[in-house]
């Protein structure tokens, strides 16, 4: 049976690689479209060049010290009430004083104003602090009279761990969705024989039904893993070439230990087996690609809902790791954070393998069911 499985698998892979539309589609999406989109979304502000444009500040306060502190801020043009005729550029701030309250007016949704506002507040805070210290000194009180102690958090995480956290939160989410989406693209492997009327010849051959189902499932799995790896490679390459998902992620350290790589491989292969067996089952039941598309579309939505938990920073009980897809994303996240226990890896893998076997058995059953094979 093994040799027949390999025969069916090799044929499916060969035919898939000859499908120009499929290959060009995967290459375009993986190496061009997705990285470009991610880069574009992450760098849209930088591309628009908005960060370098100076922000205008119109000051209605007759106090030279206010002008002096504002001058310390870069990329800010300061105007007094005498300069009202000046051509102010949007967005801009106005600073007024009501009693002893300095009021800064501006559009809070504008990202450039938000950045400058932070700096203005900092300058006002340090001015306030200086004044308080002066008054304490005049009253003969110690410096810490108004502030007996401070609380400070010292972040002990090294750069690698921070990168791992970003990877652990983001990558499992992307990987699992890509795996499922790419598996669905390979559904023709399962439904094609029926759609193109080649199934009868295959069933009349000496190949056992189990070998046919296994060979096709492995082909779907291989395609899904290869195309997902390609896509991640594309994203990594573009990140290294200057595009990044987010400016905070640009310094990510992508290096993984051998142990982590093995964990990830076991995890990805097991979840691919499970997903490819679902695709195989649904594809075998469907009459044609269109019908198969209807059956598989809920799968991607369920995956998105389950995968979103990988972004959560909460900890989950061990039982949750038994839920396929959810267990896999959590285990993947733990791998990146270097906190995966063997139990939490074995649970999703065992659940994947069990479901894979059941679905495979179901597909073989369907391959023996006349009402499914010759449905019109």
């Amino acid at each position: 049976m093994q040799s027949k499985t390999i025969l069916v698998f090799s044929r499916e892979i060969k035919v898939m690689f000859r499908d120009r539309r499929l290959i060009v589609g995967v290459l375009l999406v993986s190496l061009v479209l997705m990285p470009f989109l991610m880069g574009f979304i992450g760098n849209i502000d930088r591309m628009l060049g908005s960060d370098d444009t100076p922000v205008d500040v119109l000051v209605f306060v007759e106090d030279d010290r206010v002008f002096a502190l504002l001058q310390k801020i870069e990329n800010v043009r300061i105007f007094g009430s005498d300069d009202l005729m000046h051509d102010l550029k949007d967005p801009y701030f106005t600073i007024t004083k009501d009693e002893n309250i300095f009021k800064i007016h501006g559009d809070g949704t504008d990202p450039r104003l938000s950045r400058v506002l932070q700096e203005i507040r900092q300058e006002f805070e340090s001015w306030k602090e200086t004044l308080v210290l002066e008054r304490l000194a005049q009253a003969g009180l110690p410096k810490d009279a108004l502030s007996p102690f401070a609380v400070e958090f010292v972040d002990m995480a090294d750069e690698g761990k921070e990168s791992a956290l970003v990877l652990g939160l983001l990558v499992p989410y992307l990987v699992i969705i890509l795996l499922v989406a790419n598996s669905i693209r390979a559904i023709y492997v399962a439904v094609g024989e029926k759609q193109d009327n080649t199934l009868a010849s295959l069933l009349v051959s000496s190949a056992p039904r189990r070998a046919i189902v296994l060979g096709k499932s492995f082909a779907i799995m291989t395609f899904s893993i290869l195309s997902s790896v390609l896509l991640i490679t594309g994203m990594v390459l573009f990140a290294n070439l200057g595009f990044s998902i987010d400016s905070s992620v640009s310094d990510i350290n992508f290096s993984l230990s051998i142990g982590q790589i093995i964990e990830l491989l076991i995890n990805i292969i097991s979840v691919s087996l499970f997903v490819s067996s679902i695709i195989m089952f649904l594809g075998t039941y469907a009459r044609n690609s269109r019908e198969a598309g209807i059956y598989t579309s809920p799968l991607i939505y369920i995956t998105i809902i389950l995968a979103v938990f990988s972004i959560s920073r909460s900890t989950f009980s061990t039982k949750v790791y038994l839920v396929p897809i959810l267990g896999n994303v959590l285990a993947m996240k733990d791998s990146f954070l270097n906190s995966l226990s063997w139990l939490n890896l074995l649970l999703p893998v065992a659940s994947n393998l069990l479901l894979f076997s059941l679905l495979l058995w179901g597909s073989v059953k369907l391959y023996n069911k006349e009402s499914v094979l010759f449905r019109s």
Partner: protein, 259 residues
């Protein structure tokens, strides 16, 4: 070589309920003989051939290829048969050579023998000009040749053709008929179904007339002539089918309907 004993098949249909497709069909095909199953659309020809090909199971009765039951010894039966159907497609992104090797290997035939078989088949079916081209651009005639090649690559003793000329132009259909004749000359046992009278008349050693799931007559053309007193197969066919229809109407128990 082929023995069909009281074959019956009922399909379960959600809309129509239970549909009787075959009832008590029995016939024999000797080694090296061409047997034609002749009948209108929906008569039960394809169902009979699918049972013999091990694709579907009979509800009652059994059929044998050589000594092997199509129900109990499917694997042995599959090694003995080659199947060609009018609705069979070909793998579009493969060449006839690749398809030949694929099906040969799936049937446990070694590469040397597959190569030898393919050489002979390509010569027989005049396929040499396009054996290394992918089938996606093939005409219907070229595709039909590829389908026949796929059935022959295992060098089966029994060939089952389900309406092999359906949908083909006259010239290609005639070629297919010629190939079937050639195969008989090569010692193959051939069972084919058709609703085209002249094909059965020209090719078959014996003819079985099937109507509404019932094999109403079977024998050589000469025997059918003697039984009906008619000369021409068309007249024979309509006299047998017409008599059967009259009988069914009289008993008000139409076959191939709900049971």
């Amino acid at each position: 070589m082929i023995r069909v004993d009281n074959l019956g098949k009922i399909f379960k249909d959600k809309k129509r309920g239970e549909v009787l497709a075959l009832q008590d069909v029995s016939f024999r095909v000797k080694e090296g003989e061409i047997f034609a199953l002749l009948g209108p659309n929906g008569a039960g020809k394809t169902t009979t051939l699918r049972i013999l090909s091990t694709l579907i199971r009979p509800t009652s009765g059994d059929a044998y290829i050589s000594q092997f039951s199509v129900q109990k010894h499917k694997e042995d039966v599959r090694k003995l048969i080659g199947v060609v159907s009018y609705e069979t497609g070909v793998y579009e992104r493969m060449t006839p050579v690749e398809i030949g090797y694929y099906f040969g290997r799936l049937n446990d035939i070694d590469d040397a023998e597959i190569g030898k078989n393919l050489e002979y088949i390509f010569h027989l079916l005049r396929m040499r000009d396009f054996v290394d081209q992918r089938t996606e651009t093939f005409s219907s005639g070229m595709k039909q040749k590829t389908v026949i090649m796929r059935a022959l690559v295992t060098n089966p003793q029994v060939l089952i053709f389900d309406e092999p000329t359906s949908g083909l132009d006259l010239l290609t259909a005639k070629n297919v008929m010629d190939y079937i004749r050639l195969l008989r000359e090569n010692g193959k046992t051939i069972l084919f179904s058709t609703h085209i009278l002249w094909e059965a008349e020209k090719l078959a050693d014996r003819i079985g007339i099937i109507h509404k799931g019932d094999l109403v007559e079977n024998g050589s053309l000469e025997v059918l002539r003697q039984k009906t007193g008619k000369r021409d197969l068309e007249e024979i066919f309509f006299s047998i089918v017409g008599a059967k229809n009259d009988l069914l109407l009289a008993t008000e128990a139409p076959r191939s309907q709900r049971v």
